[in-house]
């Protein structure tokens, strides 16, 4: 056989240039989000302030104090919440799409969002404080996925199709639980609180919330990003992945656990924010291709940028703030239609 000289690699060089695009976009979106608002600050001044806060450049103390209040105390928690929530939902969605070999899957597939919503509603119903609502959302989110995985393992040996069925059953169970809670809730105070909460908002996040949620969310995002190569093999089929030496069951459980953890935390912090976990992975795939080693970090960055952008619209479009869940849906549908033509490439 002839050992010809290696032909040029057509796919890779573009990818190396392109994969920088998503993190850069996220950085630009962060800077913009810190600058805009009721009291706009020019982006260069925000940058100046951030450098001053890092001790790199001097800044007039009075101006510094004002900007510190505005940027760090008022805007930063919300911006951090948008980054963490957007990145978590997008990276979970991308990982699930590979794991379940289906580009139409979103992070709520195994019931985590339905469970967390029911949990939050339950917390509001028992007049719990904010911490209880968050804890209850988180706990029932995990419980819903636990039930889905339990059903899959008890009745179907943990196969993909039984996992999906388990997710449908578990999601339906918690959706009906949510309806029960809404039905018995006080229609003048609790019911509106539940409804608004379910529409999603980044405004309710406090620095404290972000503080305790940031570490597990970052850990989950990084863990999922590390699973990229294994998920590529899993996307080809279980037998093939095993024959390639990949520990399929372990990879699947770690992926589901990490995605569930961070998705449940997004509901705890910001309520239900739909669509982002479905569409951002597709946009990221257009940018860097389907290889999950690059796709997952790109999806995380793009998700952060996307939610910062959506939150910017939610905050600034009208004098009153729009629920972010509405904005992501209204924004998501046209964006999805725009990318659909390219995305469909390879669908069967």
């Amino acid at each position: 056989m002839i050992e010809a000289s290696s032909p040029p690699v057509p796919a890779l060089p573009h990818v190396h240039l392109r994969w920088m695009a998503a993190p850069l976009l996220a950085l630009a979106a962060t800077l913009t989000a810190l600058s805009i608002g009721r009291y706009p600050v020019p982006a260069w001044e925000t940058l100046h302030f951030l450098l001053a806060a890092a001790g790199l450049v001097p800044m007039e103390p009075e101006r510094y104090a004002l900007l510190h209040n505005l940027i760090i105390e008022i805007r930063l928690p919300r911006v951090l919440a948008a980054i963490l929530v957007g990145a978590s939902l997008s990276v979970s969605g991308a990982a699930y799409q590979a794991l379940f070999r289906n580009p139409l899957v979103s992070p709520g597939l195994l019931g985590v969002l339905a469970g967390a919503s029911a949990g939050a509603a339950l917390g509001i119903l028992v007049e719990g404080n904010w911490l209880l609502v968050q804890a209850s959302a988180f706990a029932l989110g995990l419980a819903a996925v636990g039930i889905a995985v339990g059903i899959a393992h008890l009745f179907g040996g943990g196969s993909i199709i039984m996992l999906i069925l388990g997710g449908i059953l578990s999601g339906a169970l918690f959706a009906s639980l949510l309806t029960v809670v809404k039905y018995v809730a006080d229609p003048y105070s609790q019911l509106p609180a539940i409804v608004y909460w379910l529409m999603g908002s980044l405004g309710q996040a406090t620095t404290g919330d972000i503080g305790w949620a940031a570490a597990p969310m970052l850990a989950g995002i990084v863990l999922l990003c590390l699973m990229g190569r294994a998920l590529d093999a899993l996307a080809m089929g279980d037998d093939e992945a095993r024959a390639l030496g990949v520990p399929v069951t372990a990879v699947r459980l770690v992926t589901i656990a990490a995605a569930t953890l961070i998705s449940a935390l997004t509901v705890s912090i910001a309520g239900m924010i739909g669509w982002i976990g479905l569409i951002v992975p597709h946009i990221a795939r257009l940018l860097v291709g389907p290889g999950n080693a690059l796709l997952l970090p790109a999806a995380a960055s793009l998700g952060a940028a996307f939610l910062l952008f959506a939150d910017g619209l939610a905050r600034n479009l009208f004098t009153t703030e729009l629920p972010i869940g509405i904005v992501t849906e209204l924004l998501g549908i046209p964006v999805f239609l725009l990318v659909l033509r390219r995305v469909r490439r390879g669908w069967t």
Binding site: S6, P7, A235, W347
Partner: protein, 263 residues
């Protein structure tokens, strides 16, 4: 290193599939496993790959039980070429073939430039170097099959186990692929492939094993194993063997009493 399944029993609930099947594969040979639909060919392959546990019987690789090899170590000794399928995502041909380096690198290490070079050379040997950047979902079935074989070769395994590699390929691609598998065997790869068409192994395989009623009923040189009687036992149809000028069997033809066909 020899892969040997001995006395394998396996049943799906209410349906016995394998009842005492034995089959061995050594480097340097091309073996066709022939059987009817549902005979258990794929099940036997999966058991020999360690993807399915047998109810009874043993699978040994290099004198050691298959289960004694770690999953990743095993992937460097035996490669699996599945039936051609369509991936849900448009991985490039290069990306798919590079997955063959997973057993060597593990799931956390990115393939090195040397891995990429290797895979490019293998693609070139397979004659599909020009497809490296194309989406796996957009190439033909034959090209996908070659991509999956390239991935298997990238695993550095000397034993290749292929499930119906010829299914879905057009006649030209079938002939070319069988020639390629023959040349892999000549390069001391051991290749085990399943098929349900008796005409392919008749001219394309050195060794043929017949799987019938859960057992290997014959195993040997193609000319000795593939007789009209054996085909009748396997598929329940009467056939006659057509011979070439040199007297060797070249094809089976259904023997029909109908005068239209025998005119």
């Amino acid at each position: 290193m020899i892969l040997a399944a001995r006395d394998i029993f396996f049943a799906y609930p209410g349906r016995p599939v394998l009842s005492g099947a034995s089959l061995a594969l050594a480097p340097g040979e091309l073996v066709c496993l022939l059987g009817s639909n549902g005979a258990g060919k794929s099940t036997l392959l999966r058991i020999m790959l360690g993807l399915q546990r047998a109810a009874r019987g043993s699978v040994m690789l290099g004198g050691k039980a298959l289960a004694g090899h770690g999953r990743r170590q095993l992937a460097r000794l035996i490669a699996y070429v599945p039936q051609v399928h369509v991936a849900p995502f448009p991985y490039t041909v290069l990306q798919v073939a590079l997955m063959g380096r997973l057993p060597a690198n593990g799931i956390f290490r990115a393939p090195a430039a040397a891995d990429v070079d290797r895979v490019h050379r293998l693609l070139d040997n397979m004659g599909i170097a020009h497809l490296a950047g194309r989406a796996y979902t957009e190439i033909s079935g034959g090209e996908r099959q070659l991509t999956l074989i390239t991935r298997a070769l990238a695993q550095d395994a000397r034993l290749l186990v292929m499930d119906e590699p010829l299914a879905g390929l057009d006649y030209g691609n079938q002939v070319r692929l069988l020639d390629r598998l023959e040349s892999l065997a000549a390069q001391s790869y051991g290749v085990l492939m399943t098929t349900h068409d008796p005409n392919q192994p008749l001219t394309g395989c050195q060794r043929v094993a017949l799987l019938n009623s859960g057992r290997i009923t014959a195993d040997g040189a193609a000319a000795a194993v593939l007789t009209p009687a054996a085909i009748h036992a396997l598929y329940g149809v009467q056939v006659e063997l057509l011979r070439g000028a040199d007297g060797r069997g070249i094809a089976f033809r259904p023997a029909r009493p109908d005068p239209v066909f025998n005119a």
